[in-house]
């Protein structure tokens, strides 16, 4: 019985994934307009959350740097957007972010726990202030405009980034490096004495997670059309991935995806329906999640699954 279930899972999961991806790819033809904007916003949050999870979930190093990487992507796009074709701009956005991550990682990943978290929080503020100073002093401007492109283009770029990210995540989790990242979170000292180059592994994974956040920022900039340092380096973009990952649950890969999708959809709905109370409602949802669903949506699903299985056994 057990084997048949495993076999079913082997067919079911990829099939379901394929169907979802095909539906997403076809969406702009079926439902143009607002739906496309809504869905690429959700995709953007999934990209931020899953990227954050690649590094922070297994290692336990809680990074609040996503807003910095996102902002670097946004500014890459604002500066180069007119000079270079879009795909090149997106790639440079990702690379620029990962360069920052390599530098910051090499300097700070020896910090542990709360010290690392606070440093990354400070990093966002530091870069924001630096860009602001630079723009006013040398560019003589506070904000920049971007040439808009069609919603469908933004949608497909975000979709492509997400697919690349999911493939990367899948391969990292399956490889021996996925196991090694987990061991760093369990006991870094023991991991080092087991032959794992912990510093290199942390820095490279941190940089990989930054690539996708930077790329997402580069395309998001075009949707914003006007940006300044306060918009580009908005700390919300650091906190959202953390909240969404907690909301979804971090044990499985689908947890953060589900968390980001449901949470960002809820956010959109609440903003449009209850513009004055939406922050309050979001707060309540988060409190309830942490109090009653310590393992997020995944924990809830697993509980249901177990109960359903238990029922089956009782019947037979």
């Amino acid at each position: 019985m057990n084997t048949t279930r495993v076999d079913l899972k082997k067919v079911w999961v990829p099939a379901l994934l394929l169907i979802i991806l095909l539906l997403l790819a076809a969406l702009p033809y079926a439902r143009p307009g607002y739906t496309v904007v809504l869905v690429y916003t959700i995709l953007m949050y999934i990209v931020l959350t899953v990227s954050w999870v690649i590094f922070s979930a297994p290692t336990g190093y809680i990074s609040l740097a996503p807003a910095a990487f996102f902002g670097i992507g946004i500014y890459t796009s604002a500066i180069l957007g007119m000079a270079l074709p879009l795909p090149v701009v997106i790639c440079i956005g990702g690379l620029a972010s990962s360069c920052l991550a390599l530098l910051v990682g090499a300097l700070t990943l020896r910090l542990r726990g709360i010290y690392f978290t606070i440093f990354t929080l400070g990093l966002v503020e530091l870069i924001k202030q630096f860009v602001l100073w630079y723009e006013i002093k040398f560019s003589g401007t506070r904000g920049r405009f971007l040439i808009p492109v069609g919603n469908n283009t933004i949608y497909y770029v975000m979709f492509a980034i997400l697919v690349a990210l999911l493939l990367t995540t899948y391969f990292i989790r399956r490889s021996k490096y996925g196991l090694a990242l987990q061991s760093i979170g369990e006991d870094e000292e023991a991991a080092a004495h087991t032959g794992i180059n912990v510093t290199l592994l942390k820095v490279i994974t941190f940089a990989i997670s930054a690539v996708f956040i930077g790329a997402a920022g580069a395309i998001w900039a075009i949707r914003l059309t006007y940006i300044d340092p306060y918009i580009a380096f908005d700390l919300n973009n650091s906190f959202m991935p953390v909240l969404m990952a907690i909301f979804g649950g971090m044990g499985q890969l689908y947890g953060p995806i589900l968390g980001a999708a449901v949470f960002s959809y809820l956010r959109e709905v609440l903003i449009t329906r209850f513009p004055y109370y939406y922050m309050l409602l979001i707060g309540i949802i988060l409190l309830v999640t942490i109090l009653y669903l310590p393992n997020g949506l995944v924990g809830l699903i697993q509980k249901w699954h177990k109960r359903a299985l238990g029922g089956q056994h009782a019947n037979t």
């Binding site: 196991l179 987990q182 061991s183 369990e186 000292e189 023991a190 080092a192 004495h193 087991t194 912990v198």
Partner: protein, 239 residues
């Protein structure tokens, strides 16, 4: 030529000399014991050998090669594995994965995942944990967690194994099993350097014993010599 050699190994913590000017050697195929009262610097010496700390000054050579200042993962890859006084298993990972990490990242750089899994399974059998391969490491008893640490260290395919108080906190039956395990490890051709407080164990298992006190080496010799040494008795029991 000894497999491990230390010359004038010293390490201060602030003004306190945790290890002071210690010369030592371990020969291929030996079981060497390291004893001394609490705070004598035994674990610090292990940390210096395994790269967690760097001797200042002093030099440590492994198979004639100077490894002073090398990182822990480099020293592991050269063939020195260790266990920890306070067990450091990967608590939330299954027992098998704990050992698998050793096979995947130890001295052999490109081992296929199938080979690694086979090695890990064999090692679990070697230390007697086969039945528990799928449970999270945190659910094991202390004795079994210590065995798991040994299996993980052996999975890196070391030539020298540092055991830091393998038998502390174990009951007499478990101590006997651990002693037998140490002998079997030596029979595999792995040199063993072990810190131990359980005198019965160390006297019967070791070929040679070193005694540290206040960071200095005060005695060295066969178990008989150590047991009858006046200095050692004074250190342990007072004059």
């Amino acid at each position: 030529m000894p497999i491990l050699e230390g010359e004038g190994v010293t390490r201060y913590f602030g003004g306190l000399a945790a290890v002071r000017n210690v010369d030592f050697y371990v020969s291929q195929g030996e079981i060497v014991g390291l004893i001394g009262p609490n705070g004598a610097g035994k674990t610090t010496l292990f940390n210096l050998i395994s790269g967690a700390l760097v001797p200042k000054p002093g030099a440590i050579k492994f198979k004639g090669e100077n490894i002073t200042g090398a990182k822990p993962y480099q020293i592991c890859k050269l063939g020195v594995a260790r266990t920890f006084q306070s067990v450091k298993v990967f608590a939330n990972m299954p027992v098998l994965e704990n050992v698998l990490l050793g096979s995947l990242f130890g001295t052999s750089n490109s081992v296929s995942s199938a080979d690694a899994a086979r090695e890990a399974t064999e090692l679990l059998e070697f230390v007697g944990l086969s039945a528990m391969r799928a449970i999270p490491a945190k659910d094991l008893t202390l004795a079994n967690q210590k065995r798991l640490e040994v299996a993980r260290a052996l999975a890196t395919k070391p030539e020298l194994l540092l055991l830091d108080e393998l038998m502390a906190g174990l009951n007499p039956t478990e101590v006997a099993q651990a002693m037998e395990l140490v002998i079997r490890i030596r029979d595999k051709g792995i040199t063993v350097f072990m810190i131990e407080h359980v005198m019965k164990a160390i006297m019967s298992v070791c070929d040679r014993i070193m005694v540290l006190h206040h960071g200095k080496k005060i005695a060295e010799g066969t178990p008989q010599e150590i047991a009858t040494s006046r200095t050692v008795v004074e250190v342990y029991l007072g004059e």
